[in-house]
């Protein structure tokens, strides 16, 4: 329990991607807060603690975060979760209500090291999901805020598509603009 932690999100079809994670804390321009994990997560950062990468939920709290029907059992584990991942939870909830809780998903091994998804659940709904990178070996992890990692989980992405503010793609030409997603977003605010 301690180490596998509770969590919910699915096997984030993770990262058919490249992303450059970095052990550097700099992220200069944005002054991204760097959040050190508590010891429990730091332990699992050093190795893909067995089984967790399969995406199966840990005992007890199975799927509870996702379904959101937080039974008493899962809410209890949620508490212990937010304390074990202490600072990150508090970083999130400092701005939102105390009801928001963060959960870390299983660790997925990528070419560039272990990566996991951290979700925030509030009122039974996933309000945020972001990837958190665990650089090998140094026992710390970083959540990159201003230069956040991409959200790739298709369910989360498609759920958000309606709320996208801008679109980045290969250069849009004037000809193609009228049919573009960006055009639709612009129309809503002209």
């Amino acid at each position: 329990m301690r180490r596998v932690t509770l969590w919910a999100l699915s096997t984030l079809t993770t990262l058919v991607l490249l992303f450059s994670y970095h052990t550097s804390t700099s992220s200069q321009g944005g002054g991204a807060p760097v959040i050190a994990q508590g010891p429990a997560s730091a332990g699992s950062a050093n190795g893909p603690s067995g089984g967790s990468s399969s995406g199966s939920a840990s005992s007890g709290s199975s799927g509870s975060a996702k379904s959101g029907s937080s039974s008493s059992g899962s809410s209890g584990s949620a508490k212990s979760g937010s304390s074990s991942s202490g600072s990150s939870g508090s970083a999130k909830s400092s701005s939102s209500s105390s009801a928001a809780r963060t959960y870390d998903g299983g660790t997925a091994q990528t070419r560039w090291g272990p990566v996991r998804v951290r979700i925030t659940v509030q009122g039974g709904k996933i309000t945020d999901s972001r990837a958190v990178v665990y650089p090998n070996g140094n026992g710390r992890d970083y959540e990159i805020n201003s230069y956040a990692l991409p959200i790739l989980d298709q369910e989360a992405v498609q759920a958000q598509t309606a709320n996208i503010d801008m679109v980045s793609g290969a250069t849009v030409t004037s000809d193609g603009y009228a049919q573009s997603l960006q055009s639709a977003i612009d129309q809503a605010h002209l």
């Binding site: 991607l17 992303f19 959200i151 503010d165 801008m166 679109v167 290969a170 250069t171 997603l181 605010h189």
Partner: protein, 243 residues
């Protein structure tokens, strides 16, 4: 186009500049003359950049210098600034980005990001706003005078299906650029061979500077593995996604 009755909390301006749509979205105190003036200056700077750097206009400074009609000292000083940046970009990317093709200087691959970042400077003087500027996929976000930046959720187009979004990134300050063949066919050349890059997919890079995000997006599209290595070595403040 205007006809505002109610107060909006977000406002968009769209113009076609440099052969592509440029969208400016502003949040905060958007119904002010300052916002309108700054928006005009943003598009004005982009048009000016087009007049200096266009490879489609015979009278651009770039082409006049290339033909010898204009001495380098007489040309717009932006030319020299961008030329230096191109040289730096070639060094930093280990040659995966180049603005020299067959001995001819063509900074097109860097100019868009550079111009957008520079043009957005006009918005930094406007109080009480945050903004996001998108020029054909090159995105720059920031905030005005004494204002807090806000989060802009940027969708990265799925190169296999442009009506879909493959990933989202929250950007509040800084730039994001995507390189790929989706929109214009194979138009990116591998500087090492001079041949067009024919692969599908796209490379997106984001970080503190749009100029460099643009450069690295091109480098990573040309060679994802080597580009990523070079990027990690050169500047850890950037993130990338190759699809």
């Amino acid at each position: 186009m205007r006809g505002v009755l109610a107060t909006r909390d977000r406002r968009a301006f769209v113009e076609q500049v440099m052969g592509m749509p440029v969208s400016l979205h502003v949040r905060g105190a958007v119904e002010t003359a300052e916002v309108e003036a700054a928006a005009g200056q943003v598009f004005g700077t982009l048009r000016r950049a087009d007049a200096v750097f266009s490879t489609w206009r015979d009278d651009s400074d770039l082409l006049r210098v290339r033909r010898g009609d204009l001495g380098p000292g007489e040309a717009h000083p932006w030319l020299a600034e961008v030329r230096d940046l191109c040289a730096a970009a070639q060094r930093q990317t280990g040659g995966l980005f180049s603005a020299t093709f067959a001995d001819v200087h063509d900074p097109t691959g860097l100019v868009k990001g550079w111009a957008v970042e520079r043009a957005a400077g006009h918005l930094g003087h406007v109080p009480g706003i945050s903004f996001c500027l998108n020029a054909g996929g090159d995105v720059w976000a920031g905030a005005g005078l004494g204002a807090q930046p806000s989060v802009w959720r940027v969708g990265i187009e799925d190169p296999a299906d442009r009506s879909r979004v493959a990933a989202t990134v929250e950007l509040s300050r800084g730039g994001m650029a995507t390189s790929g063949n989706a929109a214009r066919g194979a138009h990116i050349a591998d500087p090492r061979t001079g041949l067009p890059v024919h692969r599908t997919g796209s490379a997106t890079v984001w970080g503190p500077s749009l100029v460099w995000a643009d450069v690295w997006a091109t480098a990573l599209f040309v060679d994802p593995a080597r580009g990523r290595e070079a990027l990690e070595g050169a500047d850890p403040a950037y993130r990338c996604l190759v699809l």
